[in-house]
């Protein structure tokens, strides 16, 4: 799947906005964001908490409907999809990585990784083989039958990464993937994500406060108060002193 570049842009948004109505107050979580994300890009969305990063993620992941604007995944307007097609999209085109790992506690690492393949209708044998290969790829070949509680935070996040890649998605959305990890483990996870990005050509979009992420990102989107403040390439960031 690496050489097939059918669509130039994997994700496109147009004037994307989301309002949350809380009693008399309307909160503009996202206010007119237009971006184009190329296939195979490694992208970081940076911004303070509450700036709209997660809302942005929920929109492009097809989890939530925008108040205004459009989202295109591989040139398909996802507002036109029904619930069944959205589930299809989430299962096959998008992989998710959460800050809190969100592995299913009652299932083993292997079962956790095969779970998305069940939803995509992959047969049992292929499921187990692929899950095994993926866990080996993230360095957990020895831990297939461990439950999440028996794994460290970094290992759990590796399982989650393997799970996100289970159905060969075109996009991996990682919401603060290093937020619950120490510096060293966080760096390992970032390196792993970057390697997978170059190997498989999968587009990786991370929302993060983690400045270590800048080193591997092709571009950085800075979001503040629901608006896209600026877009920078890695070079542009490194010549300018980083603000916090």
């Amino acid at each position: 799947m690496s050489s097939v570049l059918r669509y130039e842009y994997t994700v496109e948004t147009e004037d994307l906005a989301k309002n949350y109505v809380m009693g008399p107050i309307t909160v503009k979580a996202l206010d007119g964001v237009s971006v184009k994300i190329r296939r195979g890009e490694y992208l970081s969305i940076m911004g303070p908490s509450g700036s709209g990063k997660t809302t942005f993620f929920n929109m492009i992941g097809g989890l939530d409907r925008p108040t205004r604007g459009k989202v295109y995944i591989d040139e398909v307007d996802i507002a036109k999809l029904d619930a069944y097609e959205l589930a299809w999209l989430r299962a096959r085109k998008i992989g998710y990585i959460f800050q809190t790992f969100n592995l299913i506690p009652v299932l083993t690492a292997l079962e956790n990784v095969s779970l998305p393949m069940i939803f995509a209708g992959v047969g049992r044998d292929e499921r187990l083989q692929r899950a095994k290969d993926l866990l080996e790829r993230v360095g957990l070949g020895e831990r297939l039958d461990h439950k999440p509680a028996e794994l460290s935070g970094g290992q759990q996040q590796r399982v989650a990464i393997a799970r996100a890649l289970a159905n060969n998605p075109v996009i991996v959305l990682a919401d603060e993937p290093t937020g619950n990890l120490d510096l060293h483990t966080g760096l390992d996870i970032i390196t792993l994500l970057k390697n997978l990005n170059s190997e498989k050509g999968v587009t990786i979009i991370t929302a993060t406060h983690d400045l270590k992420m800048i080193d591997v990102s092709d571009r950085i989107f800075w979001i503040r108060d629901g608006k896209l403040e600026r877009i920078e390439t890695r070079k542009e960031v490194s010549v300018r002193p980083v603000e916090r």
């Binding site: 939530d64 589930a87 989430r90 998710y96 299913i104 299932l107 998305p116 939803f119 799970r163």
Partner: protein, 189 residues
Amino acid sequence: MAFSIESIRRRFTRAVITIVSIVLGIAFLSALLTISRIVIALSGPAAGAQALPSYQLWMAVIALLVCAVGIVNSMLMSVTERYKEIGTIKTLGAEDFHILELFLIEGGIMGVIGGVIGGIIGWGVAFAIYAFQAQSPLVSSIVTQAALGSVDLIGYSILLSVILSLLSSMVPAYMASKLNPVEALRYEV
């Protein structure tokens, strides 16, 4: 499937309590029906009409309703407890149908276990009561024959138990399947 079984194992105590309530309801019903068969056998078909007084049947129905409410309660707890899990698997691409299936299998398994144990216990208790009371070998053999002829009631009890469990799991399972993934993910237990 494996998911549901593991979920029951993890929440073993609650599953046991739910199953016990199913067992009690089903055992009560199974005992009443078996007793009525034995009474008919002992007193001849003429007395059949009074063999199972309607108030007894009502008691059985109420016992079953109580155990249905118990299952609903237990499944609702199971759903609330797993908001985040449901949000996660919906994010990973599960359709509503998958989540419905998950909880119905869980309810169904509890129904089968409760039905088998309850049906056998109820039948056994009814048999034992009359077998011990039997004064003569003739009565004793009639009772044994009637009881053995009522083994089918265990089958009906299991069937009823499964139907009841599935019906009671329906509402919680439906609620779970309709959860909005964004809200479910944000939910902290």
